[in-house]
Amino acid sequence: MTPSTNALGGTNYLNATRGFMSWFWTIDHKRLGVMYMWSVIAAFALGGFYALMIRMHLWDPTDNAAKGPEYLDKYNIYLTIHGAVMVFLVIIPSVPAALGNFVLPMMLGAKDVAFPRLNRFSYHLWLVGFLFFAGVLLKGGVDTGWTFYPPYSTTTGTEVVLALFGVFILGFSSIFTGLNFIVTIHKMRPPGMTWFRMPLFLWAIYATAVIQILATPVIGISVMLIVVEKAFQFGIFTPELGGDPVFFQHLFWFYSHPAVYIMILPGMGVLSELFATFSRKPIFGYKSIALSSIAIALFSFIVWGHHMFVSGQSQLMSVIFSVLTFSVAVPSAIKVFNWIATMYKGSISFATPMLYAMSIIWLFGIGGLTGLFLATLGTDVVLHDTYFVVAHFHFVMVGSAVFAFIGGIFYWWPKMFGRMADNKMTRLAVLLNFIGFNMTFLPQFVGGTQGMPRRYAAYDGFETVNMWSSIGALVLLGGLLLTLGTLIWSLFRGPKAPSNPWGAATLEWMTPSPPPEHNFHIDAPQVSDPYDMDLVEWRGEEEGFLPKNPRADDPCVPDVKPA
């Protein structure tokens, strides 16, 4: 095998074996990560299609009421499918399953995750979950909202049971991924990599995995309870049978609030890597970022009631949850300040991943700050179930989590495929995404404070807000299509990528792009400070950054130039 920093001409994990079964039945974490990535992108397109249906429906409501109740009922299906697909099929798996699977073992200098076959099973479960959702669509959809509250979910005629089986299966996919990552990080760190010498991406993935294993089983049982309620009239949530619908909300949100941190924490881990690498500086406040990830994971479990302030929850609990919710903003803010401090006096490179990261400072700032209005009892009573909430969560789930996912894709793309994807078009796409996103969701804050309710198929008096929002959605669509187009284009025409195009110091960059099947050509990569950018030096376009003091037995590093 020819030692080189780019392995496209030789053998790498992509071409080591060929054929459908060699991919479908693989246990290679890199192949699984790549398959997850394309699967999540496909699901994102599906969820995005329904988002467009929503925005087109809401653009001009004048004819809607005239089209009759059936047309309006369809709207409930759009919003449910959009929400459920995006939450369960896209955002929750996105960074951990697609990027985490690929990068985690490599950052540890390991050959794979702790349980490769369980990893494959997780992916197959995702596919089965996807099939269940496809089945739901073929059978007419489901119209309960992604929150599946009874009594509507237990009495509606739409495909609730099928959808909830899909959610249940996807839950297990998530649990097994989290389990795998926890054991891998505990047991497969290389000699010398103590907890506080791990890259921050791994701290984020670890904290996420802790939430995944603690919270996801609860949504599993909760949706099963709705299934038996609907199929056999068990009555636990039905007042006519002595049950309590608010209890379902407690069960649902006990998972679903921590779930939003499953969605954002990995993205924050990506951001820590991006800010450090593209400021060519060690991350500021490593320990506080690491510990804040754990803090967010733990705090996320004690605030779920803030989704239930107007549901019938007692005043006492509402006050308690409100106070606790304010506390969870603190560790998130710590991260943002540390990222900004990392950039200060750094050597900033405006590569595409960094542009996403910098956008997120604005987007997460807005998303996080608007959360405070919702945490405050007095204002939440007015804003609950309005477009203010919709805008808030899109800023954090899409503007922050999805953008971080895309930024991460661009960051690790050279490693995954051996091609660079960082040019005028990819940067233009960032701009379109940023403008489109803001245009879509900023007006919704206005609409919400003016009183427009969410999940309403018809409205009167919010025409301007909705028009701008829908136009923004089209701009965002353009940006996202351009993003995807540039990525695919790069696979065929992009410049070949060296092992370390960005100059990072974490271990995944110390092996060719794309990596060999067993990740590294040497047995145990040297462990050092993951943020010491001085460990590598620029050697030109073709060779990228290479270690200043390579190991003598590393076949991939050409001879060190004389001092």
Binding site: P105, I175, L179, I213, P217, L225, G235, I236, H521, D523
Partner: protein, 247 residues
């Protein structure tokens, strides 16, 4: 490219047998944590309904046979003993004893399910079901109850263990009784599903044991399978007093 002699029986991505075993152990304990959380929602349901309607739960306990429940408890405890012994057998390479213990554990599991079947069918015949079931006598309005049940259910007409007949209960009391049975069937049903899965896991271990796969250098799977079985036992240790012995 350098190769080193990879230890036998150790997967390619692990450095040593110890790392492989330790990872498996941590993995199973993490999985058991998820099982605890999986049952938690039902324990919360139990707590809030019992906490708010203690007299309903006290009454309902009359319809759960303490002897059968206690027998099932001992059966599961015994099966935990035999499977723990089986782990020892695997660690020491005692193939015969290992197979014997796995067989006994599986038989205990079947005995447990058999007793559960007896309990469940008794409840079905008496209409002691959740309120929404067609056959149930736990409905507020007697007009909603299957006339066949009104005539034949002992619980409806006479009551068990000296308790008031179900027909003489306050309608709201009867309605909340239906919730008790919903919680009862959810808790014991979910537990039963876990017993069935346990049978499959133990059978798989037995099959491998019959092929002589286990020994002092390879007993991890028996150890981890046994840990799963102990969780099944643990859940029942709490279900028994909480459901059968309410005063």
């Amino acid at each position: 490219m350098s190769h080193h002699d990879h230890p036998e029986g150790v997967a390619h991505h692990f450095e040593s047998a110890a790392q492989q075993f330790d990872s498996g152990k941590l993995g199973i304990w993490t999985f058991l944590l998820t099982e605890v959380m999986f049952f938690s929602a039902l324990f919360v349901a139990y707590t809030i309904y019992r906490g708010n309607y203690p007299e309903v739960f006290q009454y309902a306990s009359n319809y759960l046979d303490t002897n059968l429940g206690a027998t099932n408890t001992v059966v599961l405890l015994f099966s935990s003993f035999t499977v723990a012994w089986g782990v020892r057998n695997a660690q020491l390479g005692q193939q015969g004893l290992l197979k014997m213990n796995l067989v006994i554990t599986i038989l205990c599991a079947f005995a447990f399910m058999g007793i559960k079947y007896v309990e469940y069918s008794h409840k079905y015949h008496e209409g002691l079901l959740w309120g929404g079931a067609a056959h149930s006598i736990m409905k507020a309005d007697p007009a909603d109850i299957d006339p066949h049940m009104l005539e034949h259910s002992h619980a409806w007409n006479v009551g068990d263990h000296g308790a008031t007949a179900v027909k003489d209960l306050d309608p709201e009391f009867r309605q909340k009784l239906g919730v008790f049975f919903a919680v009862y069937f959810c808790l014991t049903g979910l537990h039963g599903v876990h017993v069935l899965v346990g049978i499959i896991v133990l059978a798989w271990l037995l099959w491998q044991a019959m092929q002589g796969k286990f020994g002092p250098k390879n007993f991890g799977r028996v150890d981890f399978g046994a840990l799963y079985w102990h969780i099944v036992d643990l859940v029942w240790i709490f279900l028994f007093p909480l459901l059968y012995l309410i005063r």
